[in-house]
C-alpha cells in the first residue's frame, strides 16, 4: 500500500525520548532465553523489539543493551527504535505536526505544520503521553509527573503524590532516599501487578514504597479522594477525605505532584464524531482498532488499550505496551489492506494431518498468544474448495462475532486461580462453543492429553 508517515518529533523514539522519568523501562528483554534471538518464539521473552520481516532488523533491543539490567534504559529503548527505523528504511517526515482534520467525501485531509496531506485511510498513532489531570480544585498548583524536577531537589521535602498507579510509585521509588515524607493518595486501593496477574497495577520494580508503607517506615499510601489543593506561601495544603470513613485528613506539604496519568492528543477528532471512553478519554475502538463511531478512521500503538477485547476473567490485553500493540499493528495493516485496498494477503493451507500438532505448537510457542491472552487468536477456517485455511492471527472478539464459516480460534487464557491454559473456540453451522484445555506446569501443551483434547474438540470440524 502506498503510505506516508508524519511525526511531530525530531527523530525516531517517540515518548522514549523523554520518559520514563527515572530512565528505565518496565518492560523486559531477556538476552538469554530458551530460544535464539531473532526467532518468532524468542519474541515471547523480548517485550521491546519491533517485528520486521527482514532478519537483520529482528530482536534489535538486545543489540543495544549494555547488560546491566534486563529492563532497558530509556536511552537504549530510544536507540532500539531509531536503529529499527534506520535499518528497515522507514521513511518518516519528522518535525511535521498534525494540527487538524477534515473529512471530504471518501478522502481525509490532515492539516499539518508542513501543509495538507490527503489520504484514503488515516491511522493515528499519537501515543498516550499527553499529561492528564482530573478535575480537582487547585490541581493546577501541582506539577504533573511530566514536570517533576530532578529527585535531589526534593531532599528533605514532604511530597504529596496524587495517584497510586505506576507513575506515582515510580516517583515515590525515586524519592525514597531524598524526601522527608511521601504520601501517595487516590480514591481506590493500589493494585499490584503480582495480584492482578497482569500489567494492570503497580509493577514489582516499584513496590518498595508500598513495603515501606506496610512496615510503617514513613511512606503513607492512602485511599482517599482529593478534595482540594491550596497553595499557602511556600507550602501547600491538600485536603482529602478517606474513602471508608469519609473523615477529613489535611496534609501540609512542600510539593504536590499529579501522577494522574496521560491521555492521547487526538485534537479535533471528537468534533468529527470520534467517541471517547474512560477517565482519560481515549478513542473508543472496534476489535480492529477502527473508531467505534467514525468508520474508516483507525488508531495505532498504545491507543489500542481502548479496544479492550473480551477481558475474560477480568484479564486485560497488553495493548498499552509495545509487546502487545506490535502484534495488533501487523493485523491492522492486513485489515486495512483487505478492507480499503482490496489486497488480500495469501492465506496458506494447513494439511489436515498437521492441524492438531500445529495448534499445539501455537499454544506452546506463539508469541502473539502469550503476549495477548484471550485477545488474539490463531484462526483456521474450513474452506470447501481449498481445505483448511490458516486465517492468521486475528482479534478473538472479531472471530467470535464474525461470519458463519466453520472454523476454530485458538488462544491462551488465564483464570482467577492464575492457571494459564489453551482454549479452542469452535464454530459449526454458525453455533459457537468454548473448549478449555488443561493447564500444564511448564506451559508445554504438546502432550498426549492436550492432543486428545484438541482432537475431541475438532472432531468432524477440522479433523
Amino acid at each position: 500500500m502506498k503510505h506516508a508517515v508524519i511525526s511531530a518529533d525530531e527523530g525516531a523514539g517517540g515518548m522514549f525520548r523523554r520518559w520514563p522519568f527515572f530512565q528505565r523501562l518496565l518492560s523486559w528483554t531477556k538476552p538469554y532465553a530458551p530460544f535464539e534471538q531473532g526467532t518468532r518464539e524468542y519474541e515471547r521473552y523480548d517485550w521491546n523489539s519491533l517485528l520486521p520481516d527482514e532478519i537483520e532488523c529482528r530482536a534489535l533491543m538486545c543489540s543495544v543493551m549494555d547488560g546491566t539490567s534486563y529492563y532497558p534504559s530509556r536511552l537504549e529503548m530510544e536507540r532500539n527504535l531509531a536503529t529499527f527505523a534506520d535499518r528497515a528504511g522507514i521513511a518518516v517526515r519528522y518535525g511535521c505536526r498534525w494540527t487538524g482534520t477534515r473529512h471530504d467525501g471518501d478522502r481525509w485531509t490532515l492539516e499539518t505544520s508542513d501543509g495538507e496531506f490527503r489520504c484514503q485511510v488515516p491511522i493515528f498513532a499519537v501515543g498516550v503521553a499527553e499529561p492528564w489531570r482530573p478535575q480537582i480544585p487547585g490541581i493546577e498548583e501541582a506539577l504533573h509527573y511530566a514536570e517533576t524536577r530532578p529527585a535531589e531537589t526534593y531532599a528533605g521535602h514532604r511530597v504529596f503524590i496524587i495517584g497510586k498507579e505506576n507513575s506515582g510509585f515510580e516517583l515515590a521509588t525515586g524519592f525514597l532516599q531524598w524526601a522527608r515524607q511521601i504520601v501517595l493518595a487516590s480514591p481506590s486501593p493500589a493494585k499490584l501487578s503480582i495480584n492482578t496477574r497482569s500489567l494492570v497495577g503497580v509493577r514489582a520494580r516499584y513496590v518498595q514504597p508500598y513495603e515501606d508503607h506496610v512496615l510503617a517506615g514513613g511512606v503513607i499510601v492512602l485511599d482517599a479522594s482529593i478534595e482540594r489543593v491550596e497553595r499557602t506561601g511556600s507550602t501547600s495544603l491538600v485536603r482529602t477525605r478517606k474513602a471508608d470513613s469519609a473523615a477529613e485528613l489535611v496534609f501540609e506539604v512542600d510539593d504536590v505532584i499529579a501522577a494522574t496519568g496521560f491521555t492521547s492528543p487526538i485534537l479535533d477528532l471528537p468534533k468529527l464524531g470520534v467517541a471517547t471512553v474512560g477517565r482519560n478519554k481515549l478513542p473508543a475502538q472496534t476489535p480492529f482498532w477502527e473508531s467505534a463511531s467514525v468508520p474508516g478512521l483507525y488508531f495505532g500503538g498504545t491507543i489500542h488499550q481502548a479496544s479492550p477485547g473480551l477481558r475474560k476473567h477480568g484479564i486485560p490485553s497488553n495493548s498499552g505496551g509495545v509487546n502487545g500493540h506490535r502484534y495488533n499493528g501487523r493485523i491492522l495493516a492486513r485489515q486495512v489492506a483487505r478492507k480499503h485496498f482490496g489486497i488480500d494477503p495469501e492465506r496458506p493451507v494447513v494439511p489436515r494431518a498437521e492441524v492438531v500438532s500445529y495448534l499445539l505448537h501455537e499454544f506452546t510457542n506463539a508469541p502473539e498468544l502469550w503476549h495477548q491472552k484471550s485477545y488474539l487468536a490463531r484462526v483456521l477456517i474450513r474452506d470447501e474448495k481449498r481445505g483448511i485455511v490458516d486465517d492468521g492471527i486475528v482479534p478473538l472478539q472479531r472471530f467470535l462475532d464474525s461470519g458463519p464459516a466453520d472454523a476454530v480460534g485458538a488462544t491462551l487464557e488465564e483464570n482467577p486461580a492464575g492457571d494459564i491454559y489453551p482454549v479452542l473456540y469452535t464454530r459449526r453451522g454458525g453455533v459457537s462453543a468454548e473448549h478449555d484445555l488443561p493447564p500444564h506446569p511448564l506451559h508445554d501443551f504438546r502432550t498426549r492429553d492436550h492432543e486428545r483434547a484438541v482432537v475431541e474438540a475438532l472432531e468432524g470440524l477440522l479433523v
Binding site: D244, V277, G278, T286, P308, H313, D401
Partner: protein, 141 residues
C-alpha cells in the same frame, strides 16, 4: 453520548443502584471500575462464554437476546451479567448494544468483593433482583 463524561462520579450519583453511597464512596467506585463503550450492534455479553463480567449501563440501550429472539431492552441504570457471575456459569443469553452504549464494568472475579465492600449497593441489587423475580412469577401465574 460521543464523549466520555467529564466526571463519572456525577453520573454514578444519579443511578438508583448507587443512591445510598457517600461522595468519597462514589469516587472510589468511579475510580476503581472500568468504563466501556460499545458501538451499536456490538455484543456485550455472549451466551455460553465463560469468564464474563457485571455491567451497569451509564448511557444507551441494550437488547437481551436468546436463541435469536429479543427478550427485553435495558437502559440507563439497569444492570446485567450478575446471574452468570454469581452462579459461576456462562450467560444463557446474549446482550447486544441496541444503540451506542456506555457501561461501567465489574470483572466477575471482583464482584463478590465489590458487593461485600459496598453492602448498600448489594441491598439495592437484591431489591432489583426481587422485583425481577416478582415480575416473572406474576407473568407465569
Amino acid at each position: 453520548m460521543r464523549s466520555a463524561p467529564d466526571d463519572i462520579t456525577e453520573t454514578l450519583a444519579s443511578l438508583a443502584i448507587f443512591a445510598d453511597l457517600t461522595r468519597p464512596e462514589l469516587e472510589k467506585v468511579a475510580h476503581s471500575l472500568e468504563e466501556r463503550y460499545f458501538a451499536q450492534d456490538e455484543k456485550v455479553l455472549r451466551e455460553g462464554l465463560s469468564g464474563s463480567s457485571f455491567y451497569i449501563i451509564l448511557e444507551g440501550e441494550a437488547a437481551l437476546v436468546a436463541r435469536g429472539k429479543r427478550l427485553g431492552t435495558l437502559g440507563r441504570g439497569d444492570f446485567f451479567g450478575e446471574i452468570s457471575v454469581l452462579l459461576g456459569e456462562p450467560p444463557v443469553a446474549d446482550v447486544i448494544a441496541a444503540r451506542p452504549l456506555r457501561c461501567l464494568v465489574v470483572p466477575g472475579e471482583l464482584l463478590r468483593e465489590f458487593l461485600q465492600s459496598h453492602p448498600r449497593v448489594c441491598y439495592r441489587l437484591l431489591v432489583a433482583e426481587a422485583r425481577k423475580l416478582a415480575n416473572v412469577t406474576r407473568r407465569s401465574t
